[in-house]
Structures are given as C-alpha cells and as structure tokens.
Symmetry: C2
Subunit: 420 residues, 2 copies
Amino acid sequence: MSRLVMKFGGTSVGDVERIARVARIVAAERQPGRGLAVVVSAMSGETDRLVGLARAAAGEGGNGPVLGGADFNDEYDVVVSTGEQVTTGLLALALRRLGIPARSWQNWQIPVRTDAAHAKARVAEIADEDIGASIDAGIVAIVPGFQGITEGERITTLGRGGSDTSAVALAAALKAERCDIYTDVDGVYTTDPRIVAKARRLEKISYEEMLEMASLGAKVLQTRSVELAFAKGVPVRVLSSFVEPGAPNPGTLVCPEDEIVEKQVVSGVAYSRDEAKVTLLGVEDHPGVAADIFGVLSDANVNVDMIVQAEARQPGRQNIVFTCPDREATRAVEAMGAVRDRIGVEDIHVRRDVAKVSVIGIGMKSQVGVARTMFQALAQKGVNIEAIATSEIKISVLIDAAYTELAVRALHTAYGLDAA
Amino acid sequence: MSRLVMKFGGTSVGDVERIARVARIVAAERQPGRGLAVVVSAMSGETDRLVGLARAAAGEGGNGPVLGGADFNDEYDVVVSTGEQVTTGLLALALRRLGIPARSWQNWQIPVRTDAAHAKARVAEIADEDIGASIDAGIVAIVPGFQGITEGERITTLGRGGSDTSAVALAAALKAERCDIYTDVDGVYTTDPRIVAKARRLEKISYEEMLEMASLGAKVLQTRSVELAFAKGVPVRVLSSFVEPGAPNPGTLVCPEDEIVEKQVVSGVAYSRDEAKVTLLGVEDHPGVAADIFGVLSDANVNVDMIVQAEARQPGRQNIVFTCPDREATRAVEAMGAVRDRIGVEDIHVRRDVAKVSVIGIGMKSQVGVARTMFQALAQKGVNIEAIATSEIKISVLIDAAYTELAVRALHTAYGLDAA
C-alpha cells in the first residue's frame, strides 16, 4: 500500500467551482493500492475576513495576527481555524458527488499535536493510526492545513503559509511516497519568469537549493515546509492546480541531492527587493563591540542578514554594514540610535533602495570560479556590488535596486540557464 | 456556587458591535459565587451562507439542509458548524477586552455527545466536569450552540433553532439555577402584539402552556428546548438582548405550573396561518379505515393535526377532515390520491386559506365553560368554525384565514387578557 499527500492552497479552492476542479484532480490520482490524503487551505479571502473579525472583537486595528496581546491568540486561533474546516467539508462533499469515498478529518480527530505557541505554533506529532487505516481502506482523507491542537486540547494555528508545513508533516507521519503541493505556478523556475523570459522550469531541485530559493524571495514553498521535508526526507513536488485534471503536469520535484544526476553549478538566480542597508560609521574598535551591536538588534527583533566590517579612516575606528528586511529598517535605526553613545558610533546611515541578488547551486560545492563568473558578469553591465555574502551553495550580492532586472538577466545568461 | 446559562441568538451576535454589547450584558450578570456559561448562535446570515456553500459543493439546489443525500450530511455538519465556532472565539475576545476571564469550549472539548442523525441530531449527554470546574473558577465559558459530536467523534448539528436546545441541555448538565434565552423580543406575550395592541407580557408561564404556544406558531422558543426544560426541570427565562446592559429586563419565566400562583383560565391566544384542510368525501365505512388512511399519511411524512369524522349522506359512507401544515398539503393529497381506489374514497378536497386559532391556559383544567366563552365570542363576530380540537390546556378552532386577526382580538378581550 502506498500513500500520497496532496495539498491545495487558498487560490486553488477559492470558490465551489474550483473545489469541484480540485475534486477531479484528486480523482485522477486514485489508483488501486494507493491511499490519498488531501490538505487544504481556507478559501482565498476567508482567512483575511476571519482575522479582521478577531482583531475587531479584540479591539485591535490592522490586519495581521492578533499579536498585540499574546493572551488573545488562543481565541484568535479558534476563529481563524474555521476557514480550513469549511474547505475540508466542501471538498469531501465534492468528492462524494463524483462517487469517491471521502471524509474530512479535523485536527482534533487525528489528532495533530502542536506546541502551545498560538498563532505561530509548530507541529509536534501526528497520530497516523486512524487516518492511515482509513485512507488505506480507499477513503480519501481531507485535512485542514495550518492548524493543530495542543496537549491541553486547545486549537492552534501555524501562522501564514503553514498549510505547506501541515502537508509535509502529514506526509512524514503517513510515510507517504511523496507530498504534492498544488499551487498557482507549474513548478520552480531557474529565476522569476516575469523578469527573464528565458527562465526554465526545473525538473528537480535539492532541498538545500530550495531552502535558499524560498528564503531568498522565490515564494513557491514556505521555508519551514522545505526544512521539514529535508529533515524527514519527504519528496515534495510543486505543480500547477490549473492544468486539466489528468493532463501532464510534471512540476518540480524537491528531493535529496543524490537523486539529482546532472548537478548544475548554478540551478537558479533569486532576488529580493525587501532589503535595507544600514551603515554604522566610525564604530569604536574594541573586543565585543560586534556582539554588543547585534545583541541589541536581536533584542529589537531585527533579522540581520549580511554583515560587512571594514576599517574606518580614523585609527581605532571601523565601519559596520548590515542588511535587514526593509520593513525592519526603521526599528533597526531606532535601536542603534538608542545605544549609539554607549557603544560609540559616530553616525548611522540607512539606504532602502537596495536589492539582493543570489545565485544558488549544489554544484558550487565542488566547483571553483563560480564567484568570479558572477562578479565579472555584473561588472560587464556596470553593476556596483555593495556587499557580498556566501554559503556553501549560494553567493549573494547587494546592489542598487534599480539594477535588479539587469543583474538577474545577466547572471541567468552567464551561468547557462537560458532556455534554448 | 450557583451557575447561570445565557444564550444569544444570531441577531444578537450579528456583528462585532453587537457581540461587544453581548459581552457587556454577560459582564453585568457576573457575581461572586456564580459561574457563567454562554451559548451562542452563528452571526446572522452565516448559517445561510455556509448551507449555500455545502449545497453547491454537493451539487444540490435550494437552501435547506442537505437532505437530498443523507450520506452527505456528516460533511454538511462539518461546514455549517463553523458558524457558531467563530462566534465563540469573538465573544471570548470581546469579554477579555473588558478584562473578564473567558474561553471558548468547542463541543469536542467538553464533550457534548449527540446521536448520529447528522443535520438533525439530538443531544444525548454533556460532560460537565471540566467546563463546570472552569466556570466555578470564574472563567466565563462560551459554547457553540446547535451542535455536538457523535460517539464516533464526528461533528453533528441539531437542525435549525437547535441553539435553544443546546442552552437548556447545558443548563441541565451544569445544574444551573436558570437558563436565560436572550432574543429579539422582551418576553412571551398573551398574543401577537402586531395583531393585538393590548397584548401583555407574561411574567410567568408554565412549561405546558409554553409548549402549546411554541408548537402553535408563537416562535419565541424552539419546541424541543421547552420539552427538554420541562423534562429536566430547568427554569427558562426569555428576555430581550436589546435593552441596555444592566437595565431592568424581567422577561418571561417559563417554570413549573406550581410556581405560578395566580393561574389564569386562559394565558394566551395563539394562531397559525400555516394550515391546510383536507376533506375526504364518501369514505367507505369499515373497521380499520382510519388507521389505513393515517398510516398512509404518516408514511408520506405528513404531520396531521386536527381530525374530524362525520357521517356522509350516503349510508355506509363517512367524511373525514384533517389538517396539516400548508407546505405538506400537496404531498398529503398525492398520497391519498394514490390509495383512493383501494381505500374507497369518492372525492378529495383541499382548502389552503384556513387558519388555526387557539386559547391556552393551565387554569382550564379546573374550570368549566371555557369552550363556551370561545364559541360565543367567535359567533358574535360572525366567525364560522370549520373544525375543533381540544387538549387539557388548549382549545383550537380552524377558521377562514381572512378572520384570523378579528378572531384573535375577540378572544383576547373575551378572556380578559387586554392590558388596562
């Protein structure tokens, strides 16, 4: 008996007609000897509506999770989790209408246990016995993504995008052959096709590459879901929910590195415009100063990415440059301003019109000259590099945001990624 | 430690502002030594929206419960039950915003067990231990009405109006001092105030009278909730959710007969226009024919109310008249038409422009001349009586629907019910 987990996001289940289409896609995957579980999101727009109601009831403005009072988040979860429950019932009905045995499984029925961090919980354990026996008996299981219950039997949600993680966690618990994530794109591309017309769909990509892609702004899969797939060894396929049910739909398989025979030096080019560059000028140079600065930033909840340190003109002083998400730049500057005199910083500059461009590839591990190709390609186009960061399988550069498309196209060509 | 159960319907929790108002009403009922549980309906319009989605997914038209396929009703319940869950979370948030400890209790968390008759389940048992301990500790419990779970851990709903029943069942399980049902009227009246300007709010009414009132079309409380309150001895108060929180709001207490000191001969005048009169002419008169006819009607799911039998002109023949809800008249005539020749019925007539007017009062049990007062009052206004039915505490007459208001007003005056 093999098992397959399928996951459909909010756009794919946006109305009753689309849910009927999803039912036909699920029907096309039924085979003798294969059990199916389907993880679904709330119908698009529903989560926003429910979040708005919860915030209004709690007396909070805005549209994000009710984070103003952590004491409120348990009931926020009670409200918001209903969105996915509705979809589970509707999809079960749509499948039965096609004559296919199906039933919904709420998280408390399985159960799916999480920690107690309401509104941003993490899946801890999924009991596979009952649901596993049911799908092995040929009954399609429909499970609400993005949620679970605590040891104390309270409802939790995983935070935005958590449905991908739910699907991977369920696939791991069920020891599924694969987790198919249906989305509004037909796979993972070598870069953003809106920028580079010659971008190609990848047939396979390693977990590690996908992790770098996801965290660098290629918003196909949620980062945590890829981490979990990597840790549990669950093959994940990204494919389109908008092709005809049963039609060819290969998508992109996210899998272990050793299953990729022809390893590209560079598999993809990613970019992110949500970047800000903060420069601390004339920082007093003594041991522990960097630890002090980045401790302050961490306390202020600033996600620091790249860090560059260089000697300043004055002796005994240095300049420290770091990047963070653009929306955190103001917080970062305020936090540094508050400790400026204590730490000894002469001036603080912030630049918000910057972008990060990265090349990613597992082949990089065993290949020299990869960075040189990058720097040459950018230099030929007159793109100035403001900062550099590298990992085993990634090289990132910070550049003027105006050059983003130019840089991405140049790198896509330089690494031989352009489609014929 | 005393306990109070409060219940708010869909109109009372129709938007976030109204939910905030309900929170203030609940706050005003808090007292040292008293635990509170609040049963809520879905926000008005939500259940209709969810029913519409479920029917569309199942491929059924119309707007009622998914009864076309009983096999679909378990998932219908999964979809529809989310409406109340949303309200529980929102009210808990609104109470905490006022600084009042509160939490939602979903039916699976309590648990509230029902039978497995999806979409029209009946409450079987409520575990009071956990929720009872929590409310005794001063935490207001918010419970979704209209639903429960089966022994097999599936979600059920009780059918429309089931929230009143949920509240009474919870009050019985918690051994509450009383169940307060907040609604859009401020109590039970001697008759419909839209018809009789001099109608008075009753301070108290017995369970038996309320049952007759409810089943006769005074739609204040759902019949099953009154039956349950009667059986379990739960005092129920009907009061308005639209007066200022904390302001006087006596409502009407539904209680045992022996708690009503001054028993009125007649407590109220009820009417129903949802009536049809079916006449079977020239029915062959032999033993068992009535059992045959009403067996056929029962099989056709027709709720027969009044029955009158009289000799026909031909010897050996009789005429049989019965009434049923207007929406079942067509079904009744079809069912009788199908067996007409076998049973021996000469002709079938149906009249749909009829109304039933009833006087109700526990004092009737020990009083003579009550019926005569009724017939005289109607005769004086020239109202013709088409059929009569009586119980221990009720006299009903079937009349031409055009005379409904006239008859109700005449009877209200004749029994001395008019306000001074």
